[in-house]
Symmetry: C2
Subunit: 353 residues, 2 copies
């Protein structure tokens, strides 16, 4: 009938072509109607209806890539936050705000301040299955969070063809932002300065690069200063419930402690409850030190002393690093160590901050 071009088979997703074929018009008319330009473009009302019906019938969804390409908007720089499903991302807004701030501050002027942020999530250990990761089809640069050992091995095998910043992970050939390595030892020092001698550390299992560094630093410095090893309390995960369960079991087993280091504030909060239930007072019986990864740790009861890097600092540094690499200053892949913030609060016997 009215076919004007060698019509393609309508396989796959509906496109303007498919609609045009179905309605017996040209793709130009289809586009005009779908963007509500049919008045200026003088499309007849009944044609408009035909096209709308065809689009609805085919379940048309525009191809965003084609739209963006064509309409050539300038904010075509796409940054990605890549994290695993299993890990929470309380950091997301920190990152977006930090990226935006870094852009506004004129790092990476090419983007003209405009960029898009995608979130890509993958099942732990399956980073390699993430579409577009290897081809670079989905984003111009990425911040990688919460990778597992398998993911790290994959990254090590196959370098990604765009700028990447790892957070709390070190892999050769990649830029990274990590917390200062003396977190654990500083925690030990805080407790020891507070006259604690029988120390314990509570951590998750398995240990990550970061939590292992914290535990090791703590154990090492504690043994060094006290000549005696600290107890190790092993929780299943880094959650409150896991911390509570592990701490409860530990206390029931009998060892007496007067100082506790938690490698996450979630564990600290869980331990709080176990300690209180066991009749122990914080800090008079047991002083507690966390890492400050919960924004509400000042409102724990008692407020939690912590030493660690703030999510905000981490996010700012990672953003800076990412844009710097995008700016393309050669092949610099620096590792940036974010300095520690020590916040002394009541949980270690200090005056509430």
């Amino acid at each position: 009938m009215g076919k004007t071009k060698p019509t393609k088979k309508p396989r796959g997703r509906a496109t303007v072509r498919g609609i045009a074929a179905a309605a017996g018009v040209s793709i130009g008319s289809v586009s005009s109607v779908l963007n509500n330009r049919h008045v200026e473009r003088r499309i007849a009302p009944e044609t408009v209806e035909k096209i709308r019906a065809a689009a609805a019938g085919l379940g048309y969804l525009p191809n965003i890539s084609a739209k963006r390409l064509r309409s050539g908007g300038k904010n075509n720089v796409v940054l990605a936050l890549v994290t695993s499903f299993e890990a929470p991302i309380p950091l997301v807004n920190h990152f977006i705000i930090a990226l935006r701030a870094a852009m506004a501050a004129g790092k990476f002027p090419q983007a003209e301040g405009a960029f898009s942020v995608m979130i890509e999530m993958f099942p732990a250990g399956r980073l390699h299955e993430l579409p577009g990761l290897l081809t670079g089809d989905h984003f111009n640069a990425a911040i990688l969070l919460n990778t597992t050992a398998e993911d790290d091995a994959f990254l090590n095998r196959s370098p990604l063809p765009y700028p990447v910043v790892l957070v709390n992970r070190l892999i050769a050939g990649y830029a990274a932002v990590v917390e200062a390595p003396e977190t654990g030892s500083r925690a030990a020092e805080i407790l020891i300065r507070a006259k604690r001698r029988r120390l314990a550390v509570i951590h998750g299992s398995p240990l990550t690069q970061t939590t292992r560094a914290r535990v090791n630093g703590f154990m090492h410095r504690g043994a060094e200063l006290l000549g005696r090893p600290a107890h190790e309390v092993m929780a299943g995960k880094l959650s409150e419930t896991a911390g509570y369960d592990a701490m409860r079991a530990f206390l029931k087993r009998g060892p007496e402690i007067d100082g506790l280091y938690a490698v996450s504030d979630a564990l600290a909060l869980g331990a709080y409850r176990a300690l209180k239930e066991h009749g122990l007072k914080i800090p008079s019986d047991v002083a507690v030190v966390g890492v400050g990864d919960y924004e509400i740790s000042p409102f724990f009861d008692p407020p939690l002393t912590s030493v660690g890097v703030s999510h905000q600092a981490l996010a700012e540094e990672a953003s800076r690093l990412l844009l710097q690499q995008l700016g393309g200053v050669g092949a610099a892949r620096p590792t940036v160590t974010v300095p520690l913030t020590e916040t002394l609060r009541a949980s270690s016997g200090h005056r509430a901050g």
Copy 2:
């Protein structure tokens, strides 16, 4: 020289064309080199170097839209989470997980299970400035969170040309997910069942649609059952600090209360501290009810009783609704009310859950 085509001016961002012109080769060769296909494509080593140098010199960044368009991957459905900078997004992972689950469950088969998620943030009240919002250039569908009254007015004026789901907001012509309206009244009932008679509610300022509904429901039901109005404690924001400050000032002013409703768990936590500092015990002196928007509220001391909708339920319902609209079942723009979850814990005198 070796110019083969009427070379375009190199204005704007560098493209393969620009690199080709700079290196004196064709764009095909440029593309081959940039994608590390130069071996199979038999590009001479010195040409490879020339192209790499030109690309680096021009600060080349590929246009992601063009890449995706060309390489035609099937996951071209783009969903957006749109929220304001000011509001936290602890919900992000809930939404992504829920969207993924809904996709996997076979809602919206067109996408073949693959889709991308973008996060778009805007300054409160400036939703209308978000690039791509009106044209639909950036995503196929969106979930809108944390809009202000101005933003809502804008949405009301200019209907968006793609499926949208509003969260905790009602605007004519848009699908929405809201919490059940009886949150506030249920909170009042919990406190009154716990034999509390002198009630107060603590809330932020300005009130949002949702928090206003909570406050109104609470006040109304409280007055109805007790024949006496509840006190209103007004905090600046929905933060712990604001809650603490407001509650402290209120207690200092003298009114005695025995039941408190907090329209956010953050306010509840801030109020906890003010109450304790004032020598009041929870729940014996003052029972507290929150809304359950903090995952760690079971680990408050004492654990917080709450009535509200979980972020997870909200996210699941919003995702379902979004995909349903994408599936395009006509122009259905339903408003879905998410049922309440009531969790009785120690803060209202119940046994810890």
